[in-house]
């Protein structure tokens, strides 16, 4: 995904592109922390740690003590800043072959290679609740 999201973006996102220089599976957690501004809140997961930035709008996780970012999670609220897609249709212009996988409370979960997102249930073009890249 480019630095600034644009619905007319021609280049489509692919696994390995990452976001803002953070590539899950490659970027070290310490580098991700630096790229995301340094200040974060750390929480323990059963099999790793999560690091929350900007009051939880952005999160990176690392699992199994690898020290590498395993997943990058972004809140749908970031769409206000035009840095992630705002709606499901917008997301489909960026992420190829999104397919519905399951319902979660109030949302529908879609996946494609290296990406999973939640869009508001009840609309065919639901607002994005969150996106995660892995």
């Amino acid at each position: 995904m480019n630095e600034v999201y644009s619905p007319s973006l021609e280049k489509r996102w692919q696994r390995g592109d990452g976001w803002r220089g953070i590539v899950p599976g490659r970027t070290a957690v310490k580098d991700a922390i630096q790229k995301l501004g340094g200040t974060c809140e750390v929480s323990e997961m059963i099999n790793g740690f999560s690091f929350d930035f900007r009051q939880g709008l952005i999160r990176v996780t690392t699992i199994e003590q690898h020290g590498i970012v395993s997943k990058l999670w972004m809140s749908g609220d970031l769409a206000q800043e035009k840095i992630i897609p705002e709606t499901l249709n917008d997301a489909e212009t960026v992420f190829q072959n999104l397919r519905w996988v399951r319902h979660d409370v109030g949302t529908e979960i879609y996946e494609s290679d290296g990406v999973r997102l939640a869009a508001a249930a009840g609309s065919e073009n639901g607002r994005i609740a969150w996106i995660e890249l892995f």
Binding site: M45, I46, N47, V105, G126
Partner: protein
């Protein structure tokens, strides 16, 4: 016009009890209330039922019971533990026609009243809802035809009303300017996969909403008081389901879409996040009393979900405690076993994830004193978490006094009251009595 059956209503009513003893238990058994778990857990979904008689169709349409007394029909709403006689007509076709018109009028008046009081709205008969989801053989899903809404009936409106009085301000949308919209679907949201209801973050008009599934409320008790009157197995009254879905609305309004917020509340209930190393999906691990761990999972979308034993890092374990990679190889537990083993006991048998467990706790906290007592007795940690979340929401909506105290608190009955010393004392006495029953002796 309704065609009168040959059989008098009273005799037919006796022969065809409106009270279903099957659906709620089945749904409870399989842990299915609103959206999760999903496909193929309810094998009987496609079972055919006997066609309704004209009487039953009339009763279902309006949410009332019709009794024949001599040459009269009496139209009864079984609500709040009582039989409320709405009107009486002649026991003939003209009488039925008159009742039809009167009940529609009562329904419209009740909808207008609820809209005025609580800012909620209701979908109209025949209104578009959304295109149905249909599962294909390869487990993928596609959109089908447009689902239409039907009108709410009187039973549903009274059940929703009962919930609204105790659930406020959770009926409001995120901005607080208006309330959720209720839809009554004519076809299942997911074809062949019925639930009772869904919370919807964004309907076709970008509005928070609740979808009631077809048949979800048929023959159900209207309120929890009616559920008790009819037998305890009728847990999911219309009032209870509404409370549950409005708790999801409260979660949405409280930013549970944000992972850190959701996890904060989940942890209070004994759930921990686990990132599946294979899929990177965040799953939930449920903690037991001895800090042992459990996970509800499946190997394939066509498989049933199973509660499984987990190792300290969330990986599946078999009966010997050895790591295994598949759900089918893991040590399994029943729903009731997990409920008994849990560090924080779920308040009902529907606890497929922390959001649902929390919504069920919230329902019991708000619905009435009896259910709130059960919640505190069974699961004090869940009670405390729900109470904290509830007060946060109340304070956010109705503010604080100059001294920093919330303006409102939720009374033991579930209704909001001014935050006076008397109100606080009543709540404290209730909690003390339940938490320390020996002291009373």
């Amino acid at each position: 016009m309704l065609q009168l059956p040959e059989t008098p209503f009273a005799a037919e009513n006796k022969a065809n009890s409106r009270v279903s003893s099957e659906t709620p238990d089945k749904l409870k058994e399989e842990g299915a209330l609103c959206g999760l778990p999903r496909a193929l857990e309810r094998k009987e979904a496609g079972e055919k039922q006997a066609p309704l008689t004209d009487t039953q169709k009339f009763e279902k349409k309006h949410g009332v019971t019709v009794e024949t007394r001599g040459d009269k029909h009496v139209y009864i709403l079984k609500v709040n533990g009582q039989d409320k006689e709405l009107l009486t007509t002649d026991a003939n076709a003209k009488g039925i026609e008159k009742a039809e018109a009167e009940l529609v009028k009562l329904r419209n008046e009740k909808m207008a009243e609820l809209t005025k009081t609580f800012k909620v709205t209701f979908a109209l008969e025949g209104e578009d809802v959304i295109k149905q989801w249909i599962q294909k053989d390869d487990c993928s899903w596609e959109r089908g035809g447009m689902i239409k809404s039907r009108s709410a009936n009187l039973a549903e409106l009274h059940g929703i009303e009962a919930a609204l009085y105790k659930a406020q301000p959770s009926q409001l949308t995120k901005g607080g300017g208006d309330g959720v919209k209720f839809y009554f679907l004519s076809a299942n949201y997911y074809k062949g996969d019925p639930a009772l209801a869904y919370f919807i973050q964004q309907d076709k008009n970008n509005h928070q909403a609740v979808y009631f599934e077809p048949g979800a409320n048929d023959g159900k008790p209207i309120t929890e008081a009616d559920a008790d009157r009819m037998g305890k197995h009728h847990l999911y009254s219309i009032e209870a389901v509404t409370h549950h879905e409005l708790m999801h609305n409260a979660q949405h309004n409280s930013n549970w879409n944000t992972a850190s917020v959701k996890e904060k509340w989940a942890r209070k209930l004994g759930w921990m996040p686990f990132e599946d190393p294979r899929t990177h999906e965040t799953k939930w691990i449920f903690t037991g009393k001895q800090s042992e761990l459990y996970r509800r999972d499946q190997d394939h979308c066509k498989d049933e979900f199973k509660w499984c034993a987990c190792g300290k890092h969330g990986g599946l374990q078999d009966a010997e405690g050895d790591a295994v990679s598949k759900v089918k190889e893991a040590k399994h537990f029943t729903l009731d076993q997990i409920r008994d083993l849990a560090a924080v006991k779920p308040s009902t048998r529907y606890f497929v994830n922390p959001l649902e467990m929390f919504a069920e706790g919230g329902m019991k906290y708000r619905v009435n004193e009896k259910r709130r007592t059960e919640l505190l007795q069974d699961s004090p940690r869940l009670y405390d978490a729900v109470k904290e979340h509830d007060q946060d929401e109340i304070t956010l909506r109705y503010g604080k006094a100059a001294g920093g105290e919330p303006n409102y608190v939720r009374s033991v009955s579930g209704k909001l009251v001014k935050n006076t010393p008397e109100a606080r004392a009543e709540i404290a006495a209730f909690e003390e009595r339940i938490r320390n029953p020996e002291k009373k002796k």
